[in-house]
């Protein structure tokens, strides 16, 4: 598809980006026509966010690799601030607003003088918000707004720069159905005003609803760019997922046994009456949007957060878990969501990171045996094939996948019966992912059970024996991923259907 440059607001050619050890983007090229809504789809890790960050100037593309032409200008070494003024705005998933300041001031952040003071700021902000039919008081603090209201503020901010292109990065990921309708309305309005939009999402419905052109990305490459009318749903899915699907995941565990753990009426500020069971030998997947309460459930079970009363039965007898140490003793293992902030002690050695959950094994009368500790470190590093020069190397020098293996090895040392994994493969390369899947399977097959949380739906669907969907702190469905369709499961996770299709 050849388009004249003048018709294109943005034209990307052969852009590459390399991070240490990872090729995030390889020779990416596509064009965005003026006044169109351009969908960009791909699974997590396909390189969508990296590409957007290069456009906005948060990252710089590899030197000399490709060109970016925006509105007729070739762009090199830009900054977020520059590209905003040029008319290219990005609305990120993690919203870019100062929580402690008012809506009006956020829209004109850093442009107080231009707006001729506070009054001018708020009047202009009002006008912008009115343009998108938004009723938010401009004097309200951003911290008091809901996610969708914050998005509106971001859109108003984009309009304030007279943006010609607005990029929305997964804007619907934390919206309710009604809020999404509002957003779609605004997108249509913007389009009428001649503003182009790149809409990033992995929800095919949305893409089919209102995008004109769709670009599909996978593994840092553009697979195809086509007008929506020329594209079928199945074609899109095949291109998104790619042919490597068959050998991307090992077979799921086979021998699901009796109930191992039962959680009864778990309540916290964000969770409402959550009850479920976990069977021996299974992998249980939790599916839900960001903020639906997936992480909250496992943290509560693990004793990391306070709850308003709940009951846990393991093998039929009640267990009291007040803190992570109790959970550890009860046979839990836990891979936290954020590897660097919650999992690792970065400046410490691989060995002490592995040994830190199994003090009992190498201490006597409170004294540490260094040699036994080394044994543990070496044993687990070997068993999990952690690539490290030595177990004394600081763990911060390892790659993401090997760091994650250290965390898993730390718990395997205790032979956990119930292994909780929250986003175990986030930011890890494909090879290491597979190894982690195999580990998960091994834990389940040794008579344990795994609770798996992941934002990558294919991962959960391909690895779990059973899937629970969550929406706004409630369990909205239970599915057998081998029989239920991805669509059904997503619908339940979006709160659109109640009830379950039991296996």
């Amino acid at each position: 598809m050849k388009i004249q440059t003048s018709e294109c607001i943005l034209s990307i050619k052969d852009v590459s980006k390399t991070f240490p050890g990872v090729k995030a983007l390889q020779k990416v090229s596509f064009d965005v026509r003026r006044g169109s809504v351009h969908g960009l789809v791909g699974e997590n890790g396909a390189g969508k966010s990296t590409l957007m960050k290069i456009l906005s100037g948060v990252y710089q593309k590899d030197a000399g690799a490709g060109t970016v032409i925006f509105d007729g200008e070739t762009i090199e070494n830009t900054t977020p601030h520059e590209s905003m003024h040029r008319g290219l705005a990005i609305i990120y998933q993690e919203l870019n607003l100062v929580n402690t300041m008012s809506v009006g001031e956020n829209i004109f952040l850093g442009r107080f003088k231009e707006m001729k003071g506070m009054r001018g700021t708020h009047t202009s902000a009002r006008e912008l918000l009115d343009r998108i039919d938004c009723k938010i008081d401009t004097h309200k603090l951003v911290s008091e707004l809901s996610v969708s209201e914050k998005q509106m503020v971001e859109i108003a901010k984009a309009l304030s720069f007279k943006s010609k292109l607005i990029i929305m990065d997964e804007p619907s990921s934390s919206l309710t159905a009604e809020e999404l309708v509002e957003l779609v309305k605004i997108i249509h309005q913007l389009k009428e005003q001649g503003i182009s939009i790149i809409y990033i999402s992995h929800k095919l419905d949305e893409i089919f609803d209102f995008c004109d052109v769709v670009t599909i990305m996978r593994d840092g490459q553009i697979i195809d760019t086509k007008a929506k009318v020329d594209l079928t749903r199945d074609e899109m899915i095949t291109k998104m997922v790619g042919r490597s699907i068959e050998n991307e995941y090992p077979e799921r565990p086979q021998n699901v046994g009796a109930t191992l753990m039962e959680v009864r009426s778990l309540n916290t500020r964000k969770l409402h009456d959550v009850s479920f069971t976990l069977k021996q030998g299974e992998i249980l997947g939790l599916v839900g949007l960001v903020g639906a309460g997936r992480t909250e459930i496992v943290r509560a079970i693990f004793g990391a957060d306070k709850t308003d009363g709940h009951q846990i039965l393991i093998n039929g007898s009640a267990v009291r878990i007040k803190n992570p140490n109790d959970a550890k003793l009860a046979g839990f293992g836990f891979v936290p969501e954020d590897r660097k902030l919650q999992g690792l002690v970065l400046p410490f050695s691989v060995e002490s990171n592995i040994s830190m959950a199994s003090f009992e094994k190498f201490t006597k009368f409170g004294f540490i045996s260094k040699s036994k500790e080394s044994e543990i470190g070496i044993r687990q590093a070997k068993a999990l094939v952690v690539k490290t020069p030595s177990t004394k190397t600081p763990v911060k020098n390892l790659s993401g996948g090997n760091q994650q293996k250290c965390i898993i090895g730390r718990w395997l040392e205790n032979d956990p019966r119930i292994f909780i994994m929250d986003e175990p493969t986030r930011g890890i390369d494909v090879g290491a992912k597979y190894e982690i899947y195999v580990l998960m399977k091994a834990i389940a097959e040794k008579g344990g059970a795994v609770i798996l949380i992941s934002s990558e739906l294919p991962e959960v669907l391909n690895m779990s024996n059973r899937v629970l969907t969550l929406f706004e702190g409630r369990i909205t469905g239970e599915f057998n991923p081998q029989t239920a369709s991805a669509d059904e499961i997503m619908r339940a996770a979006l709160g659109m259907t109640e009830g379950s299709a039991n296996p």
């Binding site: 836990f334 410490f348 409170g366």
Partner: protein
Amino acid sequence: MKKNIALLGQSFLRNYVLIAILALIVVTMLVEPNFMTFANLINIMRQFGPLVMVSLGMTFVIIGGFIDLSVAGTISLVAVVTVTLIDPIGQVPAILVGLGVGALCGYVNSLLVLSSGALTQAEALFITFGMSTVYSAIALMYSGGSTKHMRFLKGDTSVIEALGQGSVGIFSVSFLVFLVCLAVLWVFQTQTRMGRAICLTGGNKTAAHLCGVPVSRSIIAIYTISGFMAAIGAIILFSRITTASPVIGAGYETNAILAVVVGGTTLKGGKGSVLRTVMGVLLVILMSNCLNLLGVTPYMQVVTKGAILVLAIWLDNRTQI
């Protein structure tokens, strides 16, 4: 042990501050022949006592990722309480009560830090500063603001005198006390589970907590140790100068932080060692001594120490991660 020495060597090379101080010592040796005299070395050894005790305690707080400004108040309070109790209950019980008071002060700090949920050094800094003021005020109230002289006491003060002036062979008693404390704390830090828990707490509190490492108990331990070590420092201090004023501890907190940081324990928490702190204290004291011999005023020494503290923190910030 060999590795520890190698580590020390590495930190030397990394640490420009140490090199600067060593250069100062060399210059002093060349310019001032009195430096290497026996009397001066004894003098250095005696000065060593109180500061090193306080600094050893402070090391644990800093490894644990916090800071303790309350040692100034704690030292004053312990000194005053111990001296006034010698007559009524005898010297050994008085010393024991003093040590108890020190540990209690630290324990109270830890409870405040824990209950407020303070996570950062900054929060702990302000809380412990406030507690320092409180402890100083209690010391002032208890003593009525007057300085107590040991020679006016009726009771037996032989133990305290021995601590201050006595020696066994070529070592002063206080130096032997220091060796015992150092050995115990070194073993505690490097060989015990609790010591490891403290390091992990300083390295990453969240991760440590999620692994079942007793983070709360570690925080209680570091502050209690700090208070207890400050108490030992206080008793050695007044045994040497034979008076106890209610403001005797002023300035020890910054000197201890200085010694710990110059020694090479990072303010970011997690990594550090009591042995390094001993080096740090030695260097700080040698520096004072050199500056004294070179005829620099005590005020200029405060300036120098302040400058080195700023420089050391700056370098610490640059060299880590």
